[in-house]
Subunit: 182 residues, 6 copies
């Protein structure tokens, strides 16, 4: 039995993420999807809560025919000490055998015997969270970039309106008393 | 569609928990299983990491024939301000409609329109985490109190030995420099 | 102009506290009332939120005829490093000239030139938070120990019922997944 | 009885803030003034401690003839999870019925039945904290923008000099070992 | 070159600790002395600040003739997640090759290839921090249990008086608003 | 006996730092070298862990002939409240009599009777951490700017490669799920 792990912020979960998950599941029996920056939400770069992201991913994977017993979706709060990040991650997820990451930096932080694979992240420029949030805030078409179940959930959560409000707040760019505005 | 939520420390996940989950799934389409005190581990009262508990629960539910698409298993780190605990919980899980709790105290903290149900927690004295950890530390039979897949995982994670070591550490009861010993 | 500071948890604000405030205001023009352990609430020893305690104190002082321009009521979250506690306190309140405390320990922690006075804390055994919470949980008379405006607010906030529930939770004395139970 | 809440960083408390408070007090019996980012100080954008800000506001309101029994001034430390910010705020202040905010973002975060009013924030460009700190750091006239009691306190606290030093530190813009420099 | 690590709270640094250091330095070229619970101080079980403990240890080792270039003394703040404690420790100290600990629990938490040795901790009942604090609080002889330079520093820091005050505070055993009292 | 304190991030420890230490040791018997931002590492502006920096400094001072009994090297985690920073620093280091800092800002934060000296920081433009990290990331000569023992340790810790990877990560400048990237 081989269990893999991918990590992302999934703001939102898009087709690039879905293809990545599908590819990894060809090589692994089970996959852990770790949702990073779990404590951030209602920020332009991090509009959705961890719980909303769990729901989006769960729904998209089921709709694309992936068997639910093969994945784990787990929110991970950040850790400001990079040196302890990997131990922190490991304490919150089931044991895994392969870490999928294309990031050389993450490779520096992995301190134990784990197989590291560079995932095949298709069309990174097309499927990209920053781009999707940008399209939404500028009222341009974006739905084709996410699984349709995610688009439906985003509407239902009033996420489109939320991203537009957060985009305006961000533009004003003043230090605020109100909650976190990155 | 009706989604319920139960919360527990699941140290370990035992047959009482499993029956609770089965009962709730007769009334709800989907169930969120929130793992409390997620940041604690390697403590006598909290021996397993959040990730180990995710694995135990996932495995026990599948083995007992529950469809994986019907449940979400999510670790929740504690919040020392009780008044914000419910908002904190809600930010980490998908939206839910029923909260299953027999605890009057939790009911005080729920501030929004949610249905609160008292679960039918069978034989609480028989199936009880404190009792199970106690049996393990005293080298008495305990396996009949947990799903068999959980017993197997606990052995595999060297959990039995771990509980016995933690029990001894606890008994010495001196302030320690080493990590957390409650 | 002489400004004093008293600090307490005020769970709840009782007649002993009120007399202390009245005595200190005979010696000082202004008084800062610092509410300690501000982050705790819905715990048997700390049943009320900081905001509820602000309201109780504000109301009791006005009802007893103390001019509102003479006092400041400020919540103070704890600091686990005792050595920095005094600097932490000073950053959250207006400058003060006298610290009223009968506690030798607090005197150890004060690192700057401030006048320390031992307050005249009348009938400490009669007016005592632990005793009041105990009377409430045992359903015995307690109203005569707090200012009448505080008794009214406690009823209105459903505080009596809350203390009784928290007392039962405390008695069960098991590690809980639900929020903080000291 | 109707109690309102306004929130600001008040770095410093200026005439725009004072007019806002006066306007709100025509509609409410009592007003809570919540001081945000309470943990920041000695930073160019946040030069004053929470305690210094309490003193400025208290003094300015009294000098402008507002009765002290009608307001509460309460420091609020930030919360990095925006979703729990409102619950966090509510745990630190007395119950309120109207939230005054012109910010659509804050409206997203309010989860309970509270009346939200857009305050009449006069001449926002004239009375503006960023502008005042900028005038001070450039040694230009600024006193006409704040209540005179605030100007006096700022001088007394050596606040003018402090803002100029912090402005120079900010300009050097290097990562620092010394405390927080945003 | 072989570098060892020992960890303790050193409240205070006593002759048992000194003998341990001397023994370890017969096997290692260099030794890291990690001071645990560094954030605690002015608590009966943790009376001294991390800085005071650094000074005691530095002074005792020099007085006993140990060459200063062979040791590192480093304060370590606690980490509530035991699973990340070892990574946290490693990020704060130079790389080491041997961990000296007699504690089976600590052995569970070590996740990398490091040599673990059980130190020869002589006369643990004689040389024991709990016992020393107890003797001091009861005004009984204690100086023979610590290096003489430590006894002198403890007097100079007013540590004897401090321990006695903290002992009384602890005995009153009520929840306090004042800083941390364990 | 006169003990001084200098504070820096030492990313890395360079010849400017070494000259500063040598100068200060002409005026003081002992010197505390406080390593700021101790919790940051594997970030482009903070590439080395606190433990790695302890080792660099220890090694450089010994190699330059400074007696090890004259210095203390102590990591200091940041404190977001600037007003408590000085109390926080003092709780982690032995008592000191002179603070060496050229920073007017730090002078604002010092609340107790301590002698503050402006150190003679030679050739600040030549010896500068930002510049050194920049040279390394651009693959230009940098070794002449640090003590040779530091250059050797940086190579040995794979620090050169690490800085280059972190520099690339920083340039991509997108919000990341992976650990901290400033």
């Amino acid at each position: 039995m081989r269990r893999g792990l991918v990590i992302g912020r999934f703001q939102p979960f898009h087709l690039g993420h879905l293809h990545l998950v599908e590819n990894v599941l060809e090589e692994c029996h089970e996959l852990i999807i770790a949702i990073g920056s779990a404590q951030f939400n209602y920020i332009y770069t991090d509009p959705f809560t961890a719980g909303e992201r769990v729901l989006m991913i769960h729904s998209a994977l089921l709709k694309s025919g992936i068997a639910a017993e093969r994945f784990y979706i787990i929110p991970i709060v950040n850790d400001e000490n990079n040196s302890t990040w990997y131990a922190h991650l490991r304490s919150l997820v089931p044991e895994f055998h392969v870490l999928y990451t294309g990031n050389e930096f993450v490779k520096c932080l992995v301190r134990t015997a784990v197989d590291i694979q560079t995932p095949n992240f298709e069309r990174k420029r097309t499927y990209n969270g920053t781009k999707i949030r940008n399209l939404i805030s500028r009222e341009l078409p974006w739905c084709h970039l996410v699984p349709s179940s995610v688009a439906i959930l985003m509407e239902k959560m009033d996420g489109i309106n939320r991203i537009r409000i957060l985009s305006k707040v961000k533009k004003r760019n003043e230090p605020m008393v109100y909650p976190n505005v990155k």
